[in-house]
Amino acid sequence: MLGTSILLALREIRRHILRSILTTLGIIIGVAAVVTMVTVGNGVTASVQEEISSLGASNFIVFPVRTTRGTIRAFDEADVRAVEQQIAGVQIAAGNVGSTGTAFYNGQDWDTRIQGVNNAFLEAQSITIEEGRPFSTDEEQAGKNVCLLGTKVQEALFLPGTSPVGARMRLGDVSCQVIGVIAERGQGGGGADDDDAVYMPLKTVQRRFKGNDRLDYFVLKYDASYAPSAIQDSLVDLLRERRLLQGAEPNDFNVIDTAQVNQALGAATGALTAMVAVIASISLLVGGIGIMNIMLVSVTERTREIGIRLAIGALAREVRLQFLTEAVVLCALGGLVGIALGFGASLGLAAAIDVPFVFDPMINLVSFLFAAAMGIVFGYYPASRASKLDPIDALRHE
């Protein structure tokens, strides 16, 4: 009986194809909206997480900011050493200075970032060496012309299958010896790409590319058993003291807590998802009312048919099942179309805003079941009305 009902329902829907499409538009749009927003939302979250991971594995990032007087006071290696030695719980503090330049090797050239860092920085950011070796203490202290390559730089300059270790390449007008390659980070997307960079000892970059001993920023990593707020407070106090800031003067530096950024972004995405859920629910509710409306019209239109069915012996519940099935099938089809539309829309949107397409089978299933459930909720009243018609009146209906 149910199988027959479904077939009858499909036939009825096909008979009024345009009306069926218009009726389910609300459901289609609602489901498509949910699927699209959740899928794209997942993509945004994934992209944001990637971005956060590109901040590195460190806990705090500290950088100078422009004061009201318009000056920027950079940190230097002495500040970093002081932080590392004087604040309890800090395991690593390491500076970074960046530049850009063109790398040349064997007739090839590649524009890339030049990162002045020491091994401690690599460790704080969980950057590992795939091939070759890290900087030696001597190389770091003397500012030797040695470098580690990101995989993209390696791919751009060196033939596949050949090892760059030991090669002598040129970076701008500085010649340097390749001592290793860092493991691929595969971040892509926005933000700095750790794979598209050449890493040289901090002192080398300061001396050969910058001509000063300033740092762009420094990172620090602390022991997880210490309270982050306590470390942050000590850090701010120490830096204010070192920079001779008076009581009311604002900080001329900024401390970013990556965990906080993570949380804030998570909260923002959560709020966005909740808002989308509300909008989608309204759309689905409107869609459901549309279904109820058209089912009532359908019952009225087909009063004679209902009369015939009752006269030839259909039970009330059989008539009810028929109309209920029709509403559910209509909604379920709307759900399927909505999912397909949502799939296409999220694929396009993800590409347009440059976030990964993260297919979520759960939301597709849930939306489909929800749409079908709407058929039961909003189809019940019209179906029940159909089943209660008096066969004699129904047969007389014009």
Binding site: M1, T4, R304, A311, I312, G313, L395
Partner: protein, 238 residues
């Protein structure tokens, strides 16, 4: 089977509405119909013939009195129980044919079997047999819009026959047909009656009623007169 008639009405009354607006359509109808009869119910409009037909078809219940069908007191049954009676023992033919539009003749005929839980194969076979009985096998795949009125009514008769009912109830079956088609339909009903099915028909045309063996005449909510052997008279006249 006992000696009891197939259908028995005793003191049937039917009142529509309540209070001062109440209208008594039937004022105590007594009628017995035996298996295998061909009964024409006649009478002016408002005489109670349609109300009686609705009660006989188990579509409506009397306000008072006893209606026994196959020994069952129908007035005591609920809606769904009467539906079950209709699906097993009754077949309906209406004045307006009442076929499902945009649905083939075959599917229309199969419809009652849907509610009997029969398989697709069984349904198809039974429906084709019923279409064969009314001579419409070549038209099985046509929709009502593609059929003439007479053909549509024959599809409706096939639909009524497909469940092999005890009784065929026809409410003005020729009301929408010209006289030639009407005669064809009446000849078909007569033939089916000859094969054993009990036929109850409401009509206001004497020529059509003449095909029946018994004519029950209604007036003012009561049975006015019952003419037996009407067909014999017609046949001898031909």
């Amino acid at each position: 089977m006992t000696g009891e008639p197939l259908i028995q009405l005793k003191g049937i009354t039917k009142t529509f509405g309540t209070g001062p607006a109440a209208f008594q359509a039937l004022k105590g109808v007594d009628l017995a119909i035996d298996r295998g009869e061909f009964v024409a119910i006649m009478g002016p409009s408002g005489s109670g013939k349609s109300t009686t037909m609705n009660i006989l078809g188990c579509l409506d219940v009397p306000t008072g009195g006893v209606f026994r069908f196959r020994g069952v007191e129908v007035q005591k049954l609920d809606r769904d129980q009467r539906s079950l009676l209709r699906r097993r023992y009754l077949g309906f033919v209406f004045q307006g044919f009442n076929l499902l539009a945009r649905t083939t003749a075959l599917e229309n005929v199969e419809l009652p079997l849907l509610y009997r839980g029969e398989s697709k194969g069984q349904r198809r076979e039974a429906a084709m047999r019923a279409l064969d009985q009314v001579g419409l096998v070549p038209w099985a795949d046509h929709t009502p819009a593609e059929l003439s009125g007479g053909q549509q009514q024959r599809v409706a008769i096939a639909r009524a026959l497909v469940t092999q009912p005890d009784v065929l109830l026809a409410d003005e079956p020729t009301g929408n047909l010209d006289s030639e088609r009407s005669v064809e339909i009446m000849e078909l009903l007569t033939r089916l009656n000859g094969e054993g099915i009990t036929v109850l028909m409401v009509t206001h045309e004497e020529e059509m009623a003449a095909f029946a063996r018994t004519i029950v005449r209604f007036r003012d909510g009561l049975v006015e007169r019952i003419d037996r052997g009407a067909r014999a008279a017609t046949e001898s006249a031909v």
